[in-house]
Structures are given as C-alpha cells and as structure tokens.
Symmetry: C2
Subunit: 460 residues, 2 copies
C-alpha cells in the first residue's frame, strides 16, 4: 500500500493525497452523521487525465475506489467502509467550466463544480440550468449525475438524466470515455452515457458533463393554496397542467402535520393552515405581474379553503422559505424514519390513506410528516412517535419500512425516488426490485468492472 500511495502522490501531487485524520475527517462522515468511514487515503485529482491515471494505478494494486462530490448523500453513498483499504476520490478540484455554447443552450462543466456554480454560470450567459435542490450550495454536479438528482423543478424540466446531453467518464479499466456532446438528437449507436447516470459511481467516475440550458424565465407567479384532501391536490395538479401547460414549474404539497410544525417553529410565517397546502409556481417569459394576474384570475374560479398569491419577489421568497424550512424544522422536532418514495401522482391519495391507516394500526399514535414533490409523485414520507416519547424509534424502523414499502410497491412505486440507494437501502432494493432487472444490473456491473473496484459493497 505504501508503494501504491507513493506512486499515487507522483500522479496527483502529494499535497492532494490526504492521509492524516485531521485532513480526511470532513470526507469520511456522511452529512446525516449516520456513516463513518476510514479510507486508505483521500485523493484529490485535478484533471480527467489524473483521474484516469489514478484508476489505472488503483487497478494494478487492486485498490477499491469510492468517489465523492459534495458529500451530501442522504444514503451514505459517498462514505467509504471502515476497512482502511478503500481510496476516497474527491472530485472537488475538477471544478472548471470547459465550454459554454449559449446559442446551442449547452454548457460543459467538470464534475466537481457545485450545482450553485453551474446555475450561476448559466445565469451569467442569460440562460437557465433548472436543477434545483436544498443542498445546491455544496452538492456537486458529478454527484447529481451519479444519483440522477431530482428536486424542485422536475415537473417541468425533468431529472438530471433529462438535463444531460453528454458525459466524460473514466471507466474501470482507466480508459476515458468521451461522450461529451451538445446534440439533442443522436442515434449513432447505444447511448452509453445513460449507464453512468444514477449508477452511484459503481461503473466508473464521471469527470465532466454537457448540460442542457434553457431560456431564462423572466416571470414567476407563486401561490400557497389550502385544500381539503390529497385527492383534491391531484385534481388541482391536473387542472393546473390543463390551464397553464409547461408554465407549471413547481407543485409541492405539505400535510397539516407539516404546517403545524412550521407554525410552531416559525410562528407568524404561515398565512393559514389547511388539511393540505399546495405550493404552486408558474414561470414564463414576459413579466411577473401579468402572470400573477392570470393565476389570480384562475384561482378565483376554483374551490379552495384558503389561498395567497405572492405580490412581490419578497412575498414569493417567504412562501419558498416555508417549503425549504421543512426538513430542518422536522429535525428540530426530533428524529424520524425517512422515506424518499415515489408513486404515480394519481396514486398519491390512495397511498397516503392506506399507509396512514396501516401505520396507525401497527403503531397507535404514530406521526407521519408527508411533504414534497407531488407533481412528480415523489413524497418525503417521514415517520416518528411509533412509541410514546419517540425515544426507541429506530427499533421500529424495519417494520415501518416494510409497511410503507409494501404499499409503495402495491401502487407501482419506488423506494428511492431521488436520493438513490447508497449504503442505506441495498437490502430493501434486493427485496422489492424486479429480479430480472436486478440480475441485468449485475450483468452490466460484471461486464464493466469485473474486478469490482468501483464503489464496492453497495448494491451492484
């Protein structure tokens, strides 16, 4: 191993090879504090060529590689094991814009750029890169790619996969796949880049990507609306699509329990409470006043319990802050068993009803905090107080997960809508995923990484 580290230092420079615990500690614990790894070292290569040389060297020495972006995985996807034998590869020094083609609405960036920096690079060219999520200030685009990130604008713009035109990937054999491309249409062979999106680093290391940009909307109209039940929420979703088409950019829901938590920890901020609150945003070219007027006129014709439309950018930000405060607010109230689930939007009401009933039957007094991206069928469905006092919550986690996931799959859903699998959910994946699909994934892993050195011990 010393020989390997010495040769690696020769490739990336000894200043970029960290072994002292004081230097590596910020890479070795995941952001939720749930996983603690002990790597052989932390390597910080500075270019794709260095990544490729690193992979070839690791292969010769049979050293496993755990890639890491902004270390914001909620599933321990970027934390090494405790063996002291895995090399953590931080991509953070690959943080340059490679090319901007505003007239083609495309931007080529390296994997280590933060999402916020990518958004800014697009904005500087009067373009929009629409991916938007809570950790955007620190998560990196390589991690967004490796987990096929979702977030707040998927309804209109799609997930990271749909925002990706091309990739550069260092393959497990150390070759560099140049599949960077600014093309919208290309049927010249298999679209091999698709394999690496959402692969959580198990098939190679993404080093750069060409991303789709969009015209920057100049108008926004934002409303918070209270409705009676989840079925009404889905009726609203489809009525909004009919009325406003692609202008509908965000459709988030918050249950009454969520609103009560917000009211408690952020007093005076919530304009009303209702069984369900909908955060709706339209965006468009043109100006905000006109778009807001159209939304107000449309809302006036709908049945609702309560509703407000932001009349200024400040008011708009206040509505968004409520939504964005949800995760942290819940954390302040104590631990919960979190689920990042997806079902067809049409199945949300039935799922919520059945899951709520089943959990109450198993754990009388249980609390469900449900909120999220209902426009994409993606809910954060968090369970606490399975027993009075909530102290032994995690003893109930297996049974809670089973109840929730059984119902998710009965509604043709997924146990990982946007956070991936990581270390947290491989055994659940093995239990619920189509076995033919799972076997096919493993066939691909075996074909691309027969030595099993790319982020091993996950789910492939």
């Amino acid at each position: 191993m010393n020989d390997f580290l010495a040769r690696l230092a020769g490739v990336i420079g000894s200043a970029n090879l960290l072994t002292a615990e004081a230097d590596t500690t910020r890479y070795t614990t995941d952001q939720r504090g749930r996983y603690h790894g002990r790597p052989l070292a932390v390597a910080r290569p500075g270019s794709s060529a260095e990544v490729a040389a690193l992979v070839r060297l690791a292969r010769q020495h049979r050293v496993a590689i755990v890639p890491q972006g902004g270390n914001t995985s909620t599933c321990g996807g970027a934390t090494p094991d405790g063996s002291g034998r895995q090399l953590l590869v931080a991509l953070e020094r690959l943080n340059r814009v490679r090319a901007l083609d505003a007239a083609n609405h495309s931007l080529t960036v390296e994997a280590g750029m933060t999402l916020a920096a990518v958004q800014q690079a697009a904005a500087d060219a009067d373009r929009l890169f629409p991916l938007s999520l809570a950790s955007e200030g620190s998560c990196q685009i390589g991690g967004n790619l490796s987990t096929n990130a979702g977030g707040l604008a998927v309804l209109r713009y799609g997930t990271m996969r749909e925002l990706t035109l091309g990739l550069e990937v260092v393959l497990p054999d150390g070759q560099v796949l140049n599949a960077l491309s600014g093309l919208r249409k290309d049927t010249s062979g298999l679209d091999v880049k698709q394999l690496f999106i959402g692969a959580e680093g198990q098939l190679g290391l993404i080093t750069a990507a060409t991303l789709k940009l969009f015209a920057r909307p100049t108008a926004h109209a934002t409303a918070l609306v209270g409705v009676w039940d989840a079925a009404s929420a889905i009726t609203w979703l489809n009525a909004l699509k009919d009325a406003f088409g692609d202008r509908l950019t965000t459709f988030e829901i918050l249950s009454e329990v969520c609103q009560n938590l917000l009211a408690h920890y952020h007093p005076g901020q919530l304009p009303f409470t209702a069984p369900w609150a909908l955060l709706i945003e339209l965006s468009d070219s043109g100006d905000s006043a006109e778009l807001s007027e159209r939304l107000v006129a449309w809302l006036a014709r709908q049945d609702m319990l309560d509703g407000v439309v932001a009349q200024s950018e400040t008011e708009r930000q206040k509505l968004w802050q409520l939504r964005e405060a949800m995760s942290e607010t819940q954390k302040r109230d104590g631990p919960s068993i979190k689920h990042d689930i997806g079902v067809p939007s049409s199945a949300i009401p039935a799922f919520l009803d059945e899951a709520g009933t089943a959990l109450q039957a198993a754990f009388p007094g249980v609390r469900v905090v449900a909120f999220g991206h209902a426009g994409d069928g993606n809910l954060h469905y968090n369970v606490s107080h399975t027993r009075p006092g909530n102290a032994e919550l995690f003893a109930d986690e297996p049974r809670v997960n089973e109840i929730v996931y059984d119902l998710v799959y009965r509604h043709a859903g997924t146990l990982a809508a946007e956070h991936g699998i990581g270390q947290l959910k491989p055994h659940w994946l093995a239990r619920y995923k189509d076995p033919v699909a799972l076997a096919l994934m493993k066939t691909i892993k075996q074909a691309l990484d027969p030595a099993g050195l790319m982020n091993p011990g996950r789910w492939l």
Copy 2:
C-alpha cells in the same frame, strides 16, 4: 429447421407463422426498396409471453431474430439478410393499450401499436402524446423506441427516450424484463430500460412501453418566415426561445433549393421564396387567435425578408403541407444521397457553409437539398447532381459521405441524428464514433447476448 418451425407454430399458431413468399414479401423489402431479405419465416406472436417463448425456442435452435415494427426504417434496420436462416419477428399483433392513467399523464401500450394509434389513444383521453413524424400512420411504437425516434416536436418535448417512462423487454435469454413504470423519478438502481432505447433490437425485443403524456395544447400559432442566411435562422431560433420559452414547439428550415423544388412541383402553394425559410410553430393552452396575435406582434418587431402567419386552421395545414411534401417532392426530382445529420444548432451556419464549399469544389454543379429540424440541430442534407444528368450519382456516394461526415464530426456532430444506423451506416459508425464508446457498446452486447442472436450483422 423444420423441427424449429413446427415447435414455433405450436407456440404462436400456424396461421401466424408465414413462410410462403406471397405472405412474407411485404416484410422483406425495406420501404426505400434498397434492401431485400430472405427470412427463414415471418413470425407474428400475439403476446409478450409468446415473444418470450419464441426467443427461448430460437435460442435453443440458434436461430437469429430480426424484429420488425412498421417496416419504415430508412436504414434497412428491420430487413433480414439473404441467408434464409434469420427469423423475422413482426410485432404488429401486440397492438393493445394496456393501461391509461390520465391523472398520471401516462399510457402503457404494446410495441406493435402504430404511432398514430398511440397519439389517438392519448387524444381520446384529452392528452397529448407529442412524438410526430412523417411515417406516423404506419411506424410502430416499438420501432420508435428501438431507433429513439425524433421528428417534429423534439425541440419542445424531446426524443422518444425522453418520452418513455417504462419498458417491457424480452431479453436474449427469453426472460421478460418488467420495467414498465409510470414514475417520473426513480433512483432505485440502474435505469436498465435506457439500454434498449435506440438499440435497434440488438439487445432484446421491446414488447410494451409506458409513455409520458402531456396536457393537450389548445392554441397554435404558425408562421413561415424568409430570412437572408443560416446565421439569421439560428439568431431567430434563440430569439424565439427567449420570447416564447417552451411555447416554441417547431422550428424547421428549408433552403432556397428546397423552396424552388416546392414551387416547381406544387405551383402556387409557396407564399414567397427566400434564401432560407423558417417554419415556426408555437403551441399553448388558451386560444389560437390570441397566441397568433402575440406572434404577429413579435414578428412585426423583427427584421425579415418576408413572412406569413396562418390565420386559420386551414392556412396552418397549408404551411405544414409544404414542409411535409419536402421528402416526396425531392424524390420526384430524382435520386439523392441522403444524410440524417446533427450538429449543435449554433454550428449549423458554419457547417452549411463549409460543406457547401467542399462539395462544390469536389463536384462542380452539385445540388444540395438541406432542410429539417434546425431547432434540434438535425438536418436532412441530401446531395445530388454530382455529375451532369445525375445518372451515376451513387458512384460518388463514398466520397460525398466522407466530405459531409468529416465536417459533421469537425463540428462535434453525428452521422445519425434520428434514423439510426441499420444496415446502411455500420462502417461509417465504425469510422467516426469514439472507439472507447464503440468498445463499450460491444462489451454490453456480449454481456447481454453472448450467442449474438438478436438482430445480428448490424453494428454491435
């Protein structure tokens, strides 16, 4: 082989196993009349289970399979070889809607449904399935998937890949992969369905798909505009995106040569001619009159040579008919060497300029017919009259292709934007594609279809 055919007849019914030439002939010649195959037989299975049984049987007997949808490939992708040993599998009897979930904006259909029937099933539920292309009346959704079809609305809605939520595939080992799904977001493992989209049947047989539906636009505004040069066309494209955002659904261009052909063969139809004509369509919720008014107001502020905005549905159809008549009009004028190329939109002017110059230098008097989906960077770039009289045109095809493709790749383009590779272009693919990408494709083929029985002799 007789044993195989007898057992196959037992699986699919002898009425669905065609061996007489009178019965098989409509499957064995491609639509351009360029490829003529001689299959062992034509099998018409009626369900996914029958397809799976067929594949298992073919595997036992080492019989190669050539899948076919509507037989509209322009590259011979669905025509068997002349050996008399390949089994042509027509998916046309798998033509049912499996499930419609209007509230989830999703539709699950079998592979043998025509694109037009899928569009109609969506329309019947007041939804839009946006894929639209010239052969939509006869092409089948399985073929659209296997070639990642493009067409006229990619600019706004994406290619077939982006319109696909889930797939059912019979794998080369005869197992059925159930990756049907109505989910917009799913990070539970590799997105294995991506492999089969654009694979031209070389990795398995797609038997069903879950497709994305959209709110049906109620307003259309359509204009034909004349501009000075290709650079202006791209400036217009981006100005339209800025002004109208996602409303911009179609942006097609026609060169002056194209317009002259239309004027000659369809006299009185073209409202004007110009160095370049742009066919622009916006779509939206709301009503057409208002949207057309907005387009007229915007056009009034632009520099142009000439322009008309359709004032009625009849006028709109007339403008579209001109665009749609282009392929057939060109055919009437004689043969041409066709190219289905893509470059970044921003590179279209330079590509056209350089390719035109290079072809004129090599073949003085050559005629270039360039038209197509400039909004996606995809042009149909067809070359004729390399010699006076155009009689020995195809003798010049290799040199013409080389000139065109060299420049396409100099501009980071593709030699197959939306028609695939088929039998027509494998050697060109081998010449121009990144070798690491090509090797990776072959690794995947070997892993999934080690016996090489799925549409063999193509490009994998």
